[in-house]
C-alpha cells in the first residue's frame, strides 16, 4: 500500500465514529434517491415501452351516433395535429351472461356491462392490439375478450340477453390494448347485429397526435377533434396520460416524498461530511504538520483528507444502492407484468448515476476543508499546541454568568458563541433533522387521514347487509358477480328494526349497480344512497355532497378519465335506458380505484334497475355498547333476513408500505442529524478537554459536566427547531398534493392541513430532542474524562 493509502486507512481507523456517520448519511441519501429516481423511471417504463410498441392511442374518443355520422367521425382523422387515426368503430354497451361453465365462473352468471367494439382486425395505424391467447374474431358469433377484464378463456361462451335475438358468442381470443380501448371486440358485422334497432349508436375513434406529451397538449388536440364534429357529438374521451397515471398510480405516489427524502439526505450528507472532514483537519493540525515535514505535498494532503471522506461514502453508497434496489422490489410489484413485459426494476443507469452524484457531492464537501489542510504551513502546523481560545463569545459568557441559572448551565448556554461557525453547522444539522421529523410526522398524519377516509361508508360504526349480492362491510365493489343474487331484505322491515333499536342514531341505505357511463370505458359502479347521508359523506375536495335527485359525486380520477368537470353532466346507460346526472361535487375515496359514481337511488330507478338498498350504514348513539347493540339488532333483523356487523376498515397495503418507508427514512435522517451533533460535540469536547479538566479540578460534578455539555447544544436545538418546523410544514404542503397528483386524485384540504397547535408545539421541541440526544453520549464522555490527564492535555 502506498504512503497515501496508509494515511487514509489510518485516518479512517482512528475516527470510527465519524466514519460510521459518513457511511450512514450516504447510505440514507443514496437509498432514498435510488428509490425515488428508480421508481419514477421504472414505474413508467413498461407502459411507455408497450405504448410505443403497440402504437397506442394518445386519445380514445367516443362519439354519439345520434349527433354525428360515421363519415363525419372518420373525417376527424384529417384534423390538424392528428398524425394517425383508426376508426370509426361501432361501440356498444352490453351486459353478458356466462353460457358455459369455467373454473372461474359457473354458467348463467350476469357479468358487468362491457364496452364492445366492432373492429375488423387487431392491427391498424393506431392501437395495435396484441393477442395474448387464441385468435382475432373474423366472423359473426365470435368475440375477443380484453386481457385483465372478464375471467374467460378462448372457448368460453357468452350470451347477450339485451341484444336483438339474445345471441351467444364464442370467445376466440384474449387480447391486450395498452390503453384499454375496449372490454371486448367483435367483427363490424357482429357489432351491427348486436345493436338494437333504433337504439343508441356510438362510435369510437383512436388518435395519435404530433404533440401529446402533456395534459394540456392532449386537451388541445381533443378540442380540435370536438370542433370538427357537431356540438355535443363528442360524448367522451380518454387520454393515454390518464391511463398511464392509473396504471402507475400506486408506484408513482411514492416518488414525491422519496424525492424529498433523497434531497434532504444529500444535503445532510454534504453538511455532515463537511463537518466531519473540517473537524478532522482541525483536530489533526499537528499530524498534518508531521506529514508535510516528512515530505507530503499539499496535493497529497488534500487527497488524503478527501480520500478519508470518499472511502466511507463509497461504502455508504454501495450499501444504499443495495438497499434502494431491494426496497424497490415490493414497491414496483407487478408494474411490468401488467403490460406483458418482464417485472420492472431500477434501471442500471440510475444505479450508476445516483451514487456518482452522491460521491461527487461528498468529494466537493470534503474538498474545502481538505484544501485548508493542504495550505497549512508546515512550521505552524507542527508547532501548534492546544486549540487557542478565539476570544469570541466573551460577552455571551459574561451575560450568561448573570443569568439566574446554575453556573454549569450558564457556561453551556454561552458556549455556542465561542465558535459561531461550528455552532451554525450544528444548527443546520439539527434543523435538517427537525425538519425531517416535522415532514415525516406530517406525512404519517396525512397517510393516516387518507387511510381512514379513503373507503366509502366508513362513517357509521355498524353495517347492515340486506342481501342482494352486496359487498361485505369495508370491502370494495366486486365487479363480477359470483352467482345469482340472494333476494334483498324488505327495506321497510330493516328500517323499522333499526328505528326501534335502542342506541340507533341514524342510518341510510345503499344500493349498487354497474352501468355504462359516458366517457368511461367499461362498467362504472354506481353507489346509490337513500335517506340522510350528509353525515356519512366522503371527504369533499370541491363542490358539495348530494342533496337531491339527478346529482352525482365522483373523484378527481373519474373526472379526468371522463374528461369532465364539476357541473358537467354524465349520461348513464343500462340496457338502452339512459339517465343523466349532474356532477355536483368532487370527493376523495379510493374504492374501486376511485372510479365509482355516487348518486341517489332515484338514478337507479330511472335506469330501470333495482333501487332497493342491499346495505345500510348505521351510526349509533355515543356511549352505545357495540357488542350488545349488534346482538340485539341481529335478533330484530333475523326475521327480515338482514345481518348487522361492525363496520371494520380495511388497511391499504400501499399506505402501510408508505408508512413503513416514511418511518424508516425519517429515523435514518434523524439518526444522521443526531450523529452529526454527536460528532460536533465530540470535536468540541476534545478541543475543550483542558478547560473541562480545570472545571473538574475546581469541583464540577459529573452531572454538572453533563448539564454544561448538553446545554451547549440545547439553545442551538431550540433555535434550529423553531426554524425547522415551518420548513418541514412547507415541505409537507408542497409534497402531499404532488402525491395526490401522482395517483390522479386531489387530496382533501383536511388531509393536508394535519398540523395542529399541540403537534406543532411538540415538533418544535424536535430540534431540542435531536440536539440533546446527540450530545448525551459525548457529555457522558466529558463527565468521565480523567481530570489529571485532561489537565496535562495541551
Amino acid at each position: 500500500m502506498s504512503a497515501l493509502g496508509k494515511v487514509v486507512r489510518a485516518g479512517i481507523g482512528r475516527r470510527r465514529l465519524q466514519t460510521t456517520v459518513m457511511i450512514l448519511t450516504t447510505l440514507m441519501a443514496v437509498t432514498a434517491s435510488v428509490l425515488a429516481a428508480g421508481l419514477l423511471v421504472a414505474a413508467r417504463a413498461p407502459f411507455d415501452h408497450a405504448f410505443a410498441q403497440q402504437r397506442g392511442a394518445h386519445l380514445t374518443v367516443q362519439f354519439d351516433g345520434t349527433k354525428v355520422t360515421a363519415r363525419q367521425v372518420g373525417a376527424t382523422a384529417h384534423v390538424s395535429g392528428v398524425s394517425a387515426a383508426s376508426g370509426p368503430f361501432r361501440t356498444l354497451s352490453l351486459r353478458p351472461r356466462t353460457a358455459s361453465a369455467s373454473d372461474a365462473l359457473p354458467a348463467g352468471v350476469d357479468l358487468p356491462p362491457l364496452t364492445v367494439v366492432g373492429r375488423a382486425d387487431a392491427g391498424g395505424r393506431v392501437d395495435g392490439v396484441r393477442l395474448v391467447a387464441g385468435a382475432w374474431a373474423t366472423r359473426p358469433g365470435q368475440i375477443v375478450a380484453a386481457y385483465g377484464g372478464m375471467p374467460v378463456q378462448p372457448g368460453a361462451r357468452l350470451t347477450f340477453p339485451s341484444a336483438p335475438g339474445g345471441p351467444t358468442l364464442t370467445v376466440v381470443g384474449v387480447a391486450r390494448s395498452v390503453t384499454g380501448t375496449a372490454d371486448a371486440w367483435v367483427t363490424p358485422a357482429q357489432a351491427e347485429a348486436l345493436s338494437a334497432r333504433g337504439g343508441p349508436v356510438s362510435y369510437e375513434m383512436l388518435y395519435r397526435f404530433r404533440h401529446a406529451g402533456t395534459d394540456s397538449q392532449v386537451a388541445a388536440d381533443r378540442a380540435a377533434i370536438a370542433a370538427a364534429v357537431p356540438k355535443g357529438a363528442l360524448s367522451g374521451s380518454r387520454s393515454y396520460l390518464t391511463v398511464r397515471q392509473q396504471e402507475t398510480a400506486n408506484t408513482m405516489a411514492f416518488v414525491p416524498f422519496l424525492a424529498a427524502f433523497g434531497v434532504l439526505g444529500l444535503l445532510l450528507s454534504v453538511l455532515v461530511i463537511g463537518i466531519v472532514v473540517s473537524g478532522a483537519v482541525g483536530a489533526a493540525t499537528r499530524r498534518i504538520g508531521i506529514l508535510k515535514s516528512l515530505g507530503f505535498t499539499p496535493a497529497q494532503v488534500v487527497r488524503a483528507y478527501v480520500g478519508q471522506a470518499l472511502v466511507p461514502a463509497g461504502v455508504g453508497c454501495a450499501l444504499g444502492l443495495v438497499l434502494g434496489n431491494l426496497l424497490a422490489v415490493p414497491v414496483l410489484g407487478d408494474v411490468g407484468t401488467a403490460f406483458g413485459g418482464p417485472g420492472a426494476s431500477v434501471p442500471v443507469w440510475i444505479d450508476v448515476a445516483v451514487p456518482g452524484v452522491a460521491l461527487a457531492l461528498v468529494a466537493g464537501a470534503a474538498l474545502v476543508p481538505a484544501l485548508r489542510a493542504g495550505r497549512l504551513r508546515t512550521v505552524e502546523a507542527i508547532t501548534v499546541g492546544r486549540t487557542p481560545g478565539t476570544g469570541r463569545g466573551r460577552l455571551a459568557r459574561r451575560l450568561a454568568g448573570r443569568l439566574p441559572v446554575p453556573r454549569a448551565v450558564g457556561l453551556g448556554l454561552a458556549h455556542p458563541f465561542a465558535r459561531p461557525a461550528r455552532s451554525a453547522t450544528t444548527a443546520a444539522a439539527v434543523a435538517f433533522g427537525a425538519a425531517t421529523v416535522t415532514f415525516g410526522v406530517g406525512l404519517a398524519l396525512t397517510l393516516g387521514a387518507v387511510q381512514s377516509g379513503r373507503m366509502l361508508d366508513s362513517a357509521g360504526s355498524v353495517v347492515v347487509t340486506a342481501g342482494g349480492g352486496q359487498a361485505p362491510p369495508g370491502a370494495e365493489a366486486v365487479p363480477a358477480g359470483g352467482g345469482p343474487d340472494a333476494p334483498k331484505a324488505d327495506p321497510a322491515g330493516v328500517a323499522a328494526a333499526l328505528r326501534a333499536q335502542h342506541g340507533t342514531s341514524r342510518f341510510y341505505g345503499i344500493a349498487q349497480a354497474e352501468v355504462s357511463a359516458s366517457g368511461v370505458t367499461g362498467a362504472t359502479t354506481v353507489v346509490a344512497y337513500q335517506g340522510d347521508t350528509a353525515w356519512a359523506a366522503p371527504q369533499m375536495v370541491s363542490g358539495r355532497w348530494l342533496d337531491g335527485p339527478g346529482q352525482a359525486v365522483v373523484t378527481t380520477r373519474f373526472l379526468k378519465a371522463a374528461g369532465i368537470r364539476v357541473g358537467d353532466t354524465v349520461t348513464l346507460t343500462e340496457r338502452g335506458r339512459r339517465a343523466s346526472v349532474r356532477i355536483v361535487g368532487e370527493a376523495f375515496f379510493t374504492a374501486d380505484q376511485g372510479m365509482e359514481l355516487l348518486t341517489r337511488t332515484s338514478t337507479l330507478a330511472e335506469l330501470g334497475l333495482d333501487a332497493t338498498p342491499g346495505q345500510y350504514g348505521v351510526q349509533t348513539k355515543p356511549g352505545t355498547d357495540l357488542a350488545r347493540y349488534l346482538t340485539s339488532l341481529n335478533a330484530a333483523l333475523k326475521p327480515v333476513g338482514a345481518v348487522a356487523q361492525a363496520n371494520t376498515a380495511r388497511t391499504s397495503d400501499v399506505i402501510v408500505t408508505m408508512d413503513a418507508l416514511v418511518g424508516t427514512l425519517t429515523l435514518m435522517l434523524v439518526a444522521v442529524a443526531g450523529l452529526g451533533v454527536l460528532n460536533t460535540v465530540v470535536l468540541d469536547t476534545r478541543d475543550r478537554v483542558h478547560d473541562l479538566g480545570i472545571l473538574k479540578a475546581l469541583g464540577m460534578a459529573p452531572r454538572q459536566t453533563v448539564a454544561m455539555v448538553v446545554t451547549s447544544v440545547a439553545g442551538i436545538g431550540l433555535v434550529a427547531g423553531a426554524v425547522a418546523v415551518p420548513a418541514g410544514v412547507a415541505l409537507h404542503r408542497y409534497v402531499t398534493p404532488l402525491m395526490g397528483d401522482a395517483i390522479g386524485m386531489t387530496l382533501p384540504a383536511s388531509d393536508i392541513a394535519v398540523y395542529h397547535a399541540p403537534a406543532l408545539a411538540a415538533l418544535g421541541c424536535g430540534g431540542l430532542a435531536i440536539a440533546v440526544l446527540g450530545a448525551l453520549l459525548p457529555a457522558g464522555w466529558a463527565a468521565r474524562t480523567d481530570t489529571a490527564r485532561a489537565l496535562r492535555t495541551e
Binding site: R397, A418, H690, I694, L695, G699, P702, D786, A788, L791
Partner: protein, 234 residues
Amino acid sequence: MTATAPVIDIRDATRTYGEGPPALADVTLSVRAGEAVAVLGPSGSGKSTLLNLIAGLDRPSAGSVTVAGLRVDGMGEARSAEFRRTRIGMVFQFFNLLDDLTVTDNVLLPAQLAGLPRAEARRRAAGLLERLRIDRYAGAYPGRLSGGERQRVAVARALMNRPALLLADEPTGALDTASGEDVRELLTELNADGQTILLVTHDLRLAESCATRTVELVDGRVVRDTERTTAVTR
C-alpha cells in the same frame, strides 16, 4: 474531623500504572492543620501522583488517603467533585484560568459550582481580590495579566470556598523571578494566616521560604521528611 486529626493522612499508599514500577510506593504521610508542606523531588519521583491522590483526581492501587476527615481513595466521581469543591483549593503551574472568563468570573466559579448564594459569592470574591491585591483587575481577562498576577487570581479562586487544604503544583514553575517572589510571599502570608498548604515544587527557594516542613520523594518513596525549625519568612 476532630481538632487533632491531621488534614492529610496517607497510609501505605501505592500507585502503579500497568506493569511498570510503582509511581508511588508505600507512602505514609500526615499533614497537620496549619502546616505548609513542600514535596520535593526530581522529575518522575511521584510528586504529581501524590498530589493527584490527595486531590481525589486519582486513586491509590493500595493504601488509604484521608483528607480533611474524608476517605478520598474510595470516592466516586460525584463525591470526589464535591470534595474538591468544599475541602480543597488547587493552584497549578500554568494557572489554568479560563481565558474567556473575567478575573471575577474565574474566581467566582468554585462558589457558583458549589451553589453558594450569589451575593455571598460576590462579596467573598471581592474580599479575596482585595486581599490578594488584584481587585483592580476584577473585570479584566486573564490574558491581559502578568504571570504573577494570574497566579494570584488562581490562588484567589482556590481559596474561594475556604478550603481546609490548599494544594499547589509548581506554583512558581512558569513565573519569572519577580513574579515567583510575589507568589512565594503570598503563600507564606496565607500559611501565616493559618491556611494549610501542600505544595509540590522543584523550587528550593519556595520550599525554604514558605514551607514549615519538606518531604522528599525519590522513585515514588519518601526518602526524607524534615520539619523546618529554622525561621521562615513570616
